[in-house]
């Protein structure tokens, strides 16, 4: 067995009101891919931030190569040989790959040598990347490669990866895993943060499982099944998702017909020839890597972007391409955007005001332009009770809710208006498993009651488990749709990568 590289002992860190890490210990060996597993809010990020010097622990010690160290800043961490790839990249869109890497370095380097080093690393580890491309032209997977190369340039002994696969296609994930295995074979230790169990089964040897800020177990992955890991992570067995029977396709609720839309945003995606149907009782899934037009599609359907001709969107057989959001809501539409804070809700406003945001027309919460305050409070309480939102009172600010609670609130606000058509983007992104289950179940209930639902998501497992039909969006174009029973995850991956249909693929 390899020697221990880093051991964290009894790390404790509290925030006002919460113990984020309670005496957490962890030992990492050289050449080992070690999983840090836990739900959102279990304390994974806190632990990693202490290791990387972003946060100081209240108590506990870090031992690096047998010596106790104090890591006071990320630059200290880097000088020890700890590198980290964050979930959210810090890259300048308008600069090239090379410029981004050059800017991020701690020490002065010769530009020519650096270019050579970049190509050497990208060749050696199978991370193809053109240093002269501008970042905004790159896919998310390619952007991640920049971050990885940036880390590898420092010759780290430990690489920390925070949920690296949440934005990748299955094929890209496979490539990333190859790279990580190669790095581990060369003796690098990798701390791999995730809540995706099958990935951990595939990739990791050892797993430390966190729940509510404590280490609940530390296991050899080969001895575990995905189910046993899930049970340890959540403290309870997952109830199986409802079995959904594909509905009869009788009543067409939403029709998107040859939709084209340009974008004002320099880095936005132009939608081209989008066709989409959703029937009553049906859940239609749209897979895709982030930034391929999901946001633009949602805005075009919701009415935030007005379309060139009214026939491009039909709700309940009414052409409404030129209608604004509230006229479409009147026709029975509800939309939930991906960005919770600042798009789906106003962070600095109360829950009551946020309940009002999309409901004032449809629920008639106005009299002569005046807000019927009592009715709005009632509606807020109805959402909160039905969706079990944890909050202080209806005056609590949206920004004070945790991600999962706010998402439940937003989903609840739209569901409580009994929409005939619901379009929801990334419904469970960054949400803890409990809230995710509530949200998925409510989507299925809504469809069961006869509404049409379109789910746009990066989470393929989620789509495969709740949808009846599935397709993918890539570079502003929508692929054909297939019943989930007739398509494999790998095939959806091909659609996500830009295949328009699976014909001629032998399937």
């Amino acid at each position: 067995m390899h020697p221990v590289l880093l051991s964290a002992q009894n790390m404790t860190r509290t925030f006002p009101g919460v113990v984020a890490n309670d005496a957490v210990s962890l030992a990492l060996r050289e050449g080992e891919i070690h999983a840090l597993l836990g739900e959102n809010g279990a304390g994974k990020s806190t632990l990693v931030k202490m290791i990387y010097g972003v946060l100081r622990p209240d108590s506990g010690s870090l031992v690096w190569n047998g010596k106790e160290v104090s890591i006071s800043s990320p630059s200290t961490a880097r000088s020890l040989g700890i590198a980290m790839v964050f979930q959210h990249f810090s890259l300048f869109d308008a600069l090239t790959v090379f410029e981004n890497i050059y800017l991020g370095l701690d020490k002065n380097t010769n530009a020519e040598n650096l270019k050579k080093e970049i190509s050497a690393i990208s060749e050696r580890y199978g991370l193809p990347l053109d240093p002269d491309r501008h970042v905004y032209t790159l896919s998310v997977g390619e952007r991640q490669r920049i971050e990885i190369i940036r880390c590898l340039l420092q010759n780290p002994k430990l690489l920390v990866m925070d949920e690296p696969t949440s934005v990748l296609t299955p094929q890209e994930v496979e490539k990333l895993f190859q790279t990580l295995r190669q790095l581990a074979d060369e003796g690098m230790a990798i701390l791999y943060i995730s809540h995706k169990l099958d990935e951990i089964k595939q990739l990791c040897e050892h797993a430390t499982i966190l729940r509510d800020g404590r280490v609940v177990d530390s296991v050899e992955v080969v001895n575990e099944t995905a189910a046993s890991l899930a049970e340890k992570m959540m403290g309870q067995a997952l109830s199986p998702s409802l079995d959904s029977i594909a509905p009869q396709r009788e009543k067409l609720m939403l029709l998107v017909n040859e939709l084209n839309a340009d974008t004002d945003d320099q880095y936005g995606i132009r939608l081209r020839g989008i066709n989409l149907q959703a029937y009553a009782g049906e859940i239609v899934g749209i897979a895709g890597v982030a930034g391929n037009g999901q946001e633009e599609l949602l805005k075009a359907v919701s009415g935030e972007t007005l379309l060139a001709t009214s026939s491009m969107v039909k709700l309940n057989a009414v052409e409404c391409g030129k209608y604004g959001p509230n006229r479409r809501r009147k026709l029975g539409l509800a939309c939930i955007p991906e960005e919770r804070l600042g798009h789906g809700s106003v962070p600095g406003m109360s829950l009551k005001d946020n309940a009002l945001l999309t409901s004032f027309k449809r629920l008639g919460l106005l009299t002569r332009g005046f807000i019927r305050s009592a009715a709005a409070v009632d509606f807020t309480h109805r959402i909160i009770e039905r969706f079990d939102v944890r909050y202080r009172d209806h005056q609590s600010l949206a920004s004070s809710l945790s991600g999962g609670n706010l998402q439940k609130f937003i989903v609840g606000r739209e569901m409580a208006q009994n929409p005939d058509v619901l379009v929801v983007s990334q419904p469970t992104w960054g949400v803890d498993a409990g809230a995710a289950q509530t949200i998925r179940a409510s989507i299925q209930t809504l469809a069961g009651e006869g509404s049409a639902v379109v789910v746009i998501s990066q989470d393929l497992d989620e789509l495969m488990s709740i949808c009846h039909r599935i397709g993918a969006i890539c570079a502003g174009r929508l692929s054909d749709f297939y019943p989930v029973g007739d398509i494999t995850v790998q095939q959806v991956g091909l659609l996500m990568a830009g295949a328009e249909s699976l014909e001629g693929d032998g399937s």
Partner: protein
Amino acid sequence: MVFGSPLVAFILTLVAGVVLFQIMGVNPFDALYAFFVEPLTSLYGWGELGVKATPLVLIAVALSIGFRAGVWNIGAEGQLTLGAICGGGVALLFYDVEGFWVLPLMIAAGIGGGMLWAAIPALLRTRFNANEILTSLMLTYVATLLLSMLVHGPWRDPDGFNFPESRIFSESATLPLILGGTRLHLGWIFALLAVAAGWLLMSRTIIGFQVKVVGEAPAAGRYAGFRVRRVIWFTLLLGGGAAGLAGLIEVSGPIGQLLPSISPGYGFTAIIVAFVGRLHPVGVLFAGLLLALSYLGGESAQISLNLPLAVTGVFQGLLLFFLLACDVLIHYEVRWRSNTLTSTRSG
């Protein structure tokens, strides 16, 4: 914290004032007395406070609504001037006519003039995405020069010995006084009504809700179906109308005629009033009174202590400066660190 910060800023302003007066060789406590207390030792003084606060409160209530929406109209001074020109123009047109309808007509013209002047930045912003901070500010100078041109030229009083002044407005073109022994006029009632209306608009109506949502999170505003352009038009016209009304009130109230200069910077001071009042109508009322006092105090300090008139501006500036500093320091922490990155030279 939100309401603490103006208080802290005021105290810091006083402290800075003490230091300032000390440097100027004036007993600071005499100076502060002259500045903040002496003006309020008579009923007349209280009336004057209302007279000065009227334009400040009127404009600041409207501006604060715009600021909540993220629309930065800083050209209220120009809109005020145009309101005075249009309203005053009506008064001059009917200078020999008596009638109850003259004053309402002037008010309408004053509001219309201010709105017209604010419509230009609104149009430029919504059509060409031109920054309203620049356009509204620059139009202020145009408006001031326009007024100057009129009173030096066509509108000059024919019996006025060539002074650059218009005729004195007639009785029916003058705002009635409402408190005996003072100059307090009907405009003060308008200001109080504006506070009430502003509060109602912002806290109870969907229009105020729209303004707040668009200001806080424009994307959420579009999601809710609010049109950002409409909010820009609404808030600019509202600010322009209020400033125009304030300008009309000035010329048909305390001044009583058109002069080359009709405002000691009320339109700019109203920006300070809006922020000190935390962009809330009721806060604006108190802030308006405080800043009105700074005008009176400046005059009184000038008379009793021979201090320059610039003291008023310095005090107003200090107050805004400390307020903004307090707001920043409450939310952020200053960290001193050496720059670890040195410039790189490839070679």
